[in-house]
């Protein structure tokens, strides 16, 4: 039993989602909160990520939407006086913040005890040298490396380390002059070249092509250790594990390798003294004998290196939790309180204990999701740093099955790994498309051995791909004479009905009908952690065609409904035939799929809230989702969880298996929304707004026609017929024009064309993205303000609504905008107009559920630009700022509950939402804001006025307040004039201004002191690059017009260098102006550290 007398714990969240640190920490934090609250411990949470589930009502005892910076955290500690702090549940952000607080004495000063892994252990894992030395001391292997200054030194080091070697130049960026040497000849050549430019080179053991294996290890304070999961990266060493396709459990490690690495992992966790969970990454030599060619005796050899230890919950641990059903974060939190592993129950079986290692009788496969195409100038290559924005996990009982499921889960429009739409890139280079390139090459006849040699991927996996290629060929050959046996075989290999239909030149419905007639349906299996050894009550499920029966009998089993007492009257539900109280009333909620730009944790919040609301109203909720980084895929968020594909075929199979009453498609963003028509055609009941209305809103052309009928103003538009007509139209309405394909999220392929050349180029691109739907061209208004209305309607009547204002003018995607609530600069008339329009649309489309409309406002005119009949990205923000839970009300409206209208606009404080960008992660990407979304996450903070809230939220997104100096580069006369006042303010508050030649001349001309720095290409000093490098600049303001391409290159270099040096960058005029104004009005001490409940009282 725990003997710690902990009453109040401070939990640090992870802040905004960014590349390398995403939704997995919402999951781990939420589990920690649950584990602590079970012990009646008060949980104080700091996390500015307003879209998370952990920051919702009913989770932590108190929430602070504040930056995860030592200054703010100390303020909270001073106020709350917690006696414990948890650092390992909020990713690197929380860990770094905690280390800083320990170092500066704050934790000691306020007697806050670090729970779980002690600080010195964390420090040991964070410092490479300390880490390596410490492990070498206990006889474990880490990659050896040594710096040398001359050829003789290189030879000596080479002898001691052994070939092959990686040679790195000491002082060059981006891997210049580095290379692999397999012998002295190669080494001397590379070393000579590198030493000519650099005084020293680094020689290390080259581990390219070694297997990369991870272990998730848990230790309690009594020294009990377990390895909960091991995972094998299909991509060998050299590709970041976050960029790798990963399978759990490992597939190509035999007993000796598996358990020897496990033994090492346990030695490591014991040695470091971790209490809780850690992730250990290994490199494993796939041919240890080759390294020791002298001795061929067939003995067991383990040639491994410990690459990294993360002394905290991680992306991998979230994946491991979902892959095994073992709640790592929950258990880690309990262990931090002093529990022993043997005292905790296995949450899945409830019969066995938590001190065990899950046995899987399926495999779990993760594929990352990249969005590199969304970044201008980014390189289409992956490698040793993370660039992916999300991931999916597929479960299956054959590797082939899991692989094909995972491909469809990515939601990139592919039906399987041999989908013709996959770009045909070479497989020898690692790119996001390598899996598909390999499949194509196998199909083209390239041998498994050759692909293995060029990629280092184990032949085992390539053989599996070959199996799929062969199966495709078989199906194709059979054509319409498809046999039961072959169809069953295809389904066992994870082929979708649509893919099979394509191969045999038939229709998906025809294949589905045939399949059902032949009785080929998937089996429902449980994730039970013990491979069926013990009975389990778990509701964590998946489908497989490699099964002969369901684990659960839906005709017999009754779903437990949580809180029937809350239902006062059945008459509450009038609209639909749904009746609470009857146990078989099951409502399926579709999740949002992989996180990507434009769809992330905010939709998970909507889904979880929706599922909870369903339960609270006496129905049974079933979540379907395939993203291991989410809270919605925690099996206690709904009555049932299917870790499954969000495709019509799979959803229908679950629908039929469960005999569900209906499906909710409007809470998980665009992915489920796109399934509406197909699901309905297949016979599912779609709850909420009708699919016809959804289609009217989604189809740009239909929606525009509706606006015309309702006399709602909108930018002039026309449906694209052919390119010449489009160009003719654009010339008529005058450039710039906006190109938008239908049915897309976050502005994929959306573009602004300033010339007919641009327009032709973009139209081609748009037609590539979405062939099936029309493209609409409209007038682009440059100086217009943007506003949005988020609302819920019930049978056409608005129940609640709120209007938000964007700081940035039109032209910046709404997901990249700074959003203010309540609006600060809108006329009352404008707000009224927007509300009237929303009411009109709600009525006409008979909306029952959530919706969002985006507007442009020019002077007193208001134009509608977009309408979505689903929960929007800003739902958690508006809900948490107003205290009115839009997702909850929307769910009740969807369920047909009678609800009274709620006022959601009467607030006396301000909430500001800021975007979080991850440009630093995307090599070469131009960090600019456009109509296509680029941000990966968001934060929001509160304040008594817009300045306070804005500064907090900007700090929370990683912009630190400038102390000394600002670099300003203003492109074009117009921007210079517009920014003049702000520049004067900067100067007045004592910041030193540096500027490029043109800008500095202009500023001095207006009596503002400005120091000129040379541009990068001028190769003269002092230049901007050296100043950035020397940290002489605290902030870069680079205002330019993204759609004017002159001066582009030099501005780009400045922006890119700013990002690469980790210096805050502002590129939008309105954001920069607001920032300068706020700086002039507020200092750090003015930013109050108040909890959420000091501002907001929840209204429901």
């Amino acid at each position: 039993m725990t003997n710690l007398k902990i009453k109040k714990v401070l939990l640090l969240g992870s802040g905004a989602l960014k590349i390398g640190q995403a939704g997995e920490f919402d999951y781990s934090g939420s589990q920690a909160i649950k584990a602590l609250k079970e012990e009646s411990i008060e949980v104080i949470l700091i996390n500015p990520n307003i879209a998370t589930i952990q920051t919702s009502e009913g989770f932590a005892t108190r929430v602070y939407f504040l930056p995860l910076e030592p200054y703010f955290v100390e303020e909270v500690i001073r106020k709350e006086k917690p006696n414990g702090i948890l650092l390992s549940f909020g990713g690197q952000t929380a860990l770094n913040c905690g280390l800083a607080l320990a170092k500066n004495g704050t934790l000691a000063k306020y007697q806050v005890r670090v729970l779980g892994t002690p600080i010195p252990a964390i420090e040991k894992t964070e410092d490479r040298q300390l880490f390596a030395d410490s492990l070498i001391r206990i006889g474990l292997l880490v990659p050896t490396s040594k710096a040398v200054r001359n050829l003789a030194g290189a030879r000596k080091v080479a002898q001691s380390i052994g070939y092959p070697l990686m040679v790195r130049s000491g002082f060059s960026l981006g891997g210049q002059d580095s290379g692999v040497a397999r012998g002295w000849q190669e080494l001397s050549e590379i070393a000579k070249k590198a030493l000519a430019k650099s005084p020293q080179i680094l020689i290390e053991k080259y581990l390219g092509g070694w297997k990369e294996v991870e272990y998730e290890v848990v230790r309690d304070s009594f020294d009990n250790c377990i390895a909960v999961c091991n995972m094998e990266n299909i991509d060998p060493m050299g590709i970041h594990t976050g960029e790798s396709i990963v399978v759990a459990p490992s597939q190509t490690l035999n007993n000796f390798e598996y358990h020897s690495l496990r033994e090492v992992a346990i030695k490591v966790i014991r040695h470091l003294g971790i209490v809780g969970e850690c992730n250990i990454q290994f490199a494993l030599n796939p041919r240890p004998l080759a390294a020791e060619s002298a001795n061929n005796s067939p003995i067991n050899q383990l040639d491994y290196r410990i690459i990294e230890v993360n002394a905290r919950l991680s992306r991998s641990s979230a994946l491991a939790s979902k892959a095994t059903g073992y709640p790592l974060a929950y258990v880690a939190a309990k262990l931090a309180l002093g529990y022993s592993l043997t005292e905790l129950k296995n949450a899945v079986t409830q019969k066995t204990i938590a001190c065990f290692e899950p046995a899987l009788d399926y495999l779990a496969l993760k594929i990352p999701r990249w969005d590199l195409g969304k970044f201008i100038k980014s390189e289409n290559q992956i490698g040793s740093s993370m660039q992916s924005v999300g991931e999916v996990m597929a479960l299956g009982r054959k590797f082939e099955e899991a692989l094909q499921k995972a491909v469809r889960m990515l939601d990139i429009g592919f039906e399987g790994i041999l989908d013709e739409k996959a770009p045909g890139l070479v497989y020898s280079k690692p790119t996001p498309w390598r899996l598909f390139a390999i499949a194509k090459s196998v199909k083209g006849g390239t041998s498994v051995a050759k692909i293995h040699k060029q990629t280092g991927i184990d032949p085992f996996f390539i053989e599996k791909i070959k199996n799929l290629v062969q199966m495709e060929e078989k199906i194709k050959k059979t054509g319409q004479n498809l046999t039961t046996e072959l169809l069953r075989g295809a389904k066992e290999y994870g082929f979708s009905d649509a893919r099979i239909a394509k191969l045999i030149k038939s229709k998906e419905e025809t294949v589905t009908k045939k399949r059902e007639a032949w009785g080929i349906v998937p089996s429902v299996k449980q994730i039970d952690t013990l491979a069926a050894e013990y009975p389990a009550e778990t509701n964590y499920l998946y489908l497989t065609y490699n099964g002969e029966g369901d684990d659960i009998d839906n005709r017999k089993s009754k779903v437990k409904v949580e809180s029937q007492s809350q239902i006062k009257n059945q008459k509450d539900f009038s609209l639909h035939t749904l009746t609470p109280h009857s146990n078989d009333r099951k409502v399926i909620v579709l999740g949002s799929g992989p996180y990507r730009i434009g769809s992330s944790v905010e939709f998970d919040w909507c889904c979880v809230t929706c599922a909870q609301t369903i339960s609270q109203n006496g129905f049974a909720s079933i979540i379907i989702n395939c993203n291991p980084e989410t809270v919605s895929t925690d099996y206690d968020m709904a009555q049932k969880l299917y870790f499954e594909e969000l495709t019509a075929e799979t959803v229908m199979e679950i629908y039929k298996k469960e005999r569900a009453s209906c499906v909710i498609i409007s809470m998980g963003g665009q992915t489920p929304n796109n399934l509406a028509t197909k699901l309905e055609a297949a016979g599912a009941k779609i709850l909420g707004t009708s699919t016809k209305s959804i289609d009217t809103a989604e189809d740009r052309s239909k929606f525009s026609r509706l606006c015309d009928e309702l006399k709602i103003a909108q930018p002039i538009w026309a449906k694209f017929e052919n390119i010449d007509e489009a160009v003719g139209f654009a010339e008529k309405i005058k450039y710039p024009v906006l190109i938008r394909p239908s049915y897309v999220l976050s502005g994929t392929a959306m573009n602004v064309a300033f010339t007919s050349k641009d327009l032709r180029e973009y139209l081609e691109l748009a037609s590539k993205v979405s062939r099936e739907y029309p493209v609409v061209i409209s007038k682009f208004h440059q100086d217009a303000k943007e506003l949005e209305i988020d609302a819920v309607a019930e049978r056409g009547n608005i129940i609640c609504s709120t209007i938000t204002e964007h700081v940035e003018n039109a032209g910046v995607h709404s997901g990249d905008s700074t959003v203010l609530l309540p609006p600060q600069k809108l006329y009352l008339a404008t707000v009224k107009q927007a509300e009237t329009i929303a009411q009109k649309i709600a009525k006409t489309l008979q909306i029952s559920g959530p919706f969002n409309i985006q507007f442009l406002a020019t002077d007193n005119n208001i134009l509608v630009i977009e309408c979505n009949l689903r929960a929007s990205r800003s739902f958690p923000f508006v809900s948490k700022v107003t205290g009115v839970n839009f997702a909850k009300i929307a769910t009740e409206a969807i369920l047909g509950k009678k609800i009274k209208p709620v006022a959601a606009n009467n607030i006396s404080y301000v909430g500001v939402k800021s975007p979080q960008f991850s440009f630093s992660r995307i090599k070469g990407a131009d960090p600019i804001l456009r109509v296509e979304m680029a941000s990966t996450g968001e934060v929001a903070c509160f304040g008594h006025d817009v300045y306070e809230a804005f500064l907090k939220s900007l700090i929370a997104s990683g912009v630190s307040l400038p102390q000394k100096s600002v670099f300003v580069s203003l492109a074009g006369e117009e921007n210079k004039v517009k920014f003049l006042e702000a520049a004067r303010t900067l100067s007045n508050i004592g910041l030193k201004i540096y500027a490029t030649e043109g800008t500095s001349k202009f500023l001095r001309g207006h009596l503002i002191e400005a120091n000129k720095l040379h541009k990068i290409h001028e190769n003269k000093k002092p230049n901007i690059l050296s100043y950035l490098n020397d940290k002489k600049i605290d902030l870069v303001i680079n205002i330019f017009d993204p759609y004017f391409k002159k001066e582009f290159d030099d501005d780009y270099l400045i922006r890119r260098a700013t990002i690469d040096f980790g210096i805050p960058l502002l590129t939008n005029l309105q954001t920069a102006e607001l920032f300068v104004k706020a700086l002039a009005k507020k200092q750090l001490a003015d930013l109050k550290t108040l909890p959420w409940d000091a501002y907001v009282t929840p209204q429901n």
């Binding site: 009990n224 043997t342 054959k398």
Partner: protein, 393 residues
């Protein structure tokens, strides 16, 4: 793999239809499952599985092919038949010499593949282990109950083998030799001598003992190493070698079947206890020690066959993850005199080991030699050898 149809037929009439792999012959036995995710090569060669049809709950089996014989747990496959969901036909591993299918063919062991092993496991869990048969095509066979037979006799070696210590890794072939010329080995005076009563021992027990400096006398299940008490009818010692052997400790191995069948082994262990020499039993050895000391054993409903069994050391906070493979257990209600429970299964509280309160007699139900499985409890070999060395000195 062929396209021959095969059926797994259980005693209760349940039929699973799949494809035949390995040897195209029908076979009957006791159907048991293991939930270990690695180590099919070690499991298949574990003599404890003798007479059993083994179901792997992990679906992908055969991924790393078949390693050289040095890495097996005995000289051959001991299971009667194999049940697999998805047999890997193109294995990949630097040690692989052939595919699992080839191996099964060579060793004349049939397998059935392509069936829902999870559903089968659930059945076995609910109804307990069951007799069953793999029927290839139409060649039916009768059900067969291996527990009615003395399986230990079937898998135990026929003669004594001496193994010298092997402190370093290397080929072990040249280090073993038959007792016909024992003199060369008796020179190892400093090395403690352990008698390994091989009732179906996994080779890793031997490796563990030798790696710790022991000279191991590998004894047939009924070989009596205590000549001073020449009870007639116990042991088989045609050459009279037992007089040349003086062991400092007795290791009782794992093995198949009902422990009560191995009466001669029990008699030998009784002598060891009487002589107070350090005695360490593993798995079947745990049951045999209990029986020899006056305790009792019983058959479990479906046994433990896994690599993830939590095992608590009684009286301590310590829990180990252990490999297990047993269908019988020591009855704690009839704990032998002077013994106490040493380890216990954290999931179902069954006995996982007994230890004498004063004398160096102890045994465990799990497998400290692992292979396959976690190596958490390998230290028990150190514990045992410390006692043996003390006696030797």
């Amino acid at each position: 793999m062929t396209n021959n149809k095969a059926r797994l037929i259980l005693k209760d009439g349940t039929i699973f239809a799949g494809l035949a792999a390995g040897s195209q012959t029908s076979v009957a036995g006791e159907v048991v499952f293991t939930t270990g995710m690695v180590g099919y090569d070690q499991s298949l060669t574990d003599p404890s599985y003798s007479g059993q049809i083994l179901v792997f709950t992990y679906p992908l089996i055969g991924n790393w092919g078949v390693p050289p014989q040095e890495f097996w747990e005995s000289e051959k496959i001991h299971v009667s038949g194999v049940v697999i969901s998805d047999l890997t036909t193109n294995p990949s591993h630097w040690q692989s010499q052939k595919s699992l299918n080839q191996w099964l063919q060579e060793e004349n062991i049939p397998a059935i593949v392509g069936i829902d092993t999870r559903k089968l496991t659930q059945k076995l869990r609910e109804k307990g282990v069951m007799l069953g048969k793999i029927v290839v095509g139409d060649q039916d066979v009768k059900l067969y109950d291996p527990n009615a037979e003395n399986l230990v006799e079937r898998v135990s070696p026929k003669e004594v083998v001496i193994h010298r210590p092997k402190l370093e890794v290397g080929s072990e072939k040249n280090l073993t030799s038959h007792l016909k010329n024992p003199a060369s080995h008796l020179s190892h005076r400093t090395s403690p001598k352990v008698g390994l009563l091989n009732c179906g021992a996994k080779r890793n027990i031997l490796r563990n003992l030798r790696a710790r400096g022991a000279t191991v006398y590998e004894l047939p299940w009924n070989f009596d190493p205590f000549p001073e008490s020449n009870t007639p009818g116990v042991g088989s010692d045609p050459l009279g070698v037992s007089r040349k052997i003086k062991i400092d400790g007795l290791m009782i191995s794992n093995g198949p079947g009902d422990p009560k069948m191995a009466k001669e082994s029990i008699a030998i262990i009784k002598k060891a206890l009487k002589a107070k020499i350090p005695t360490f039993g593993i798995c079947l050895g745990n049951q045999l020690l209990a029986l020899a000391a006056g305790g009792d054993t019983y058959k479990l409903k479906f046994g433990h066959r896994a690599q993830n069994q939590p095992t608590i050391e009684v009286g301590k906070e310590r829990c180990y993850i252990t490999t297990q493979n047993h269908g019988f257990a020591v009855d704690e209600k009839r704990m032998p005199d002077g013994f106490r429970r040493w380890f216990t299964n954290a999931n179902d509280n069954t006995n996982e080991g007994i230890i004498h309160q004063k004398l160096p007699f102890f045994s465990v139900q799990f497998h400290p030699e692992a292979s396959p499985g976690p190596t958490d409890t390998e230290f028990l070999f150190d514990y045992f050898l410390n006692k043996v060395k003390k006696r030797a000195a």
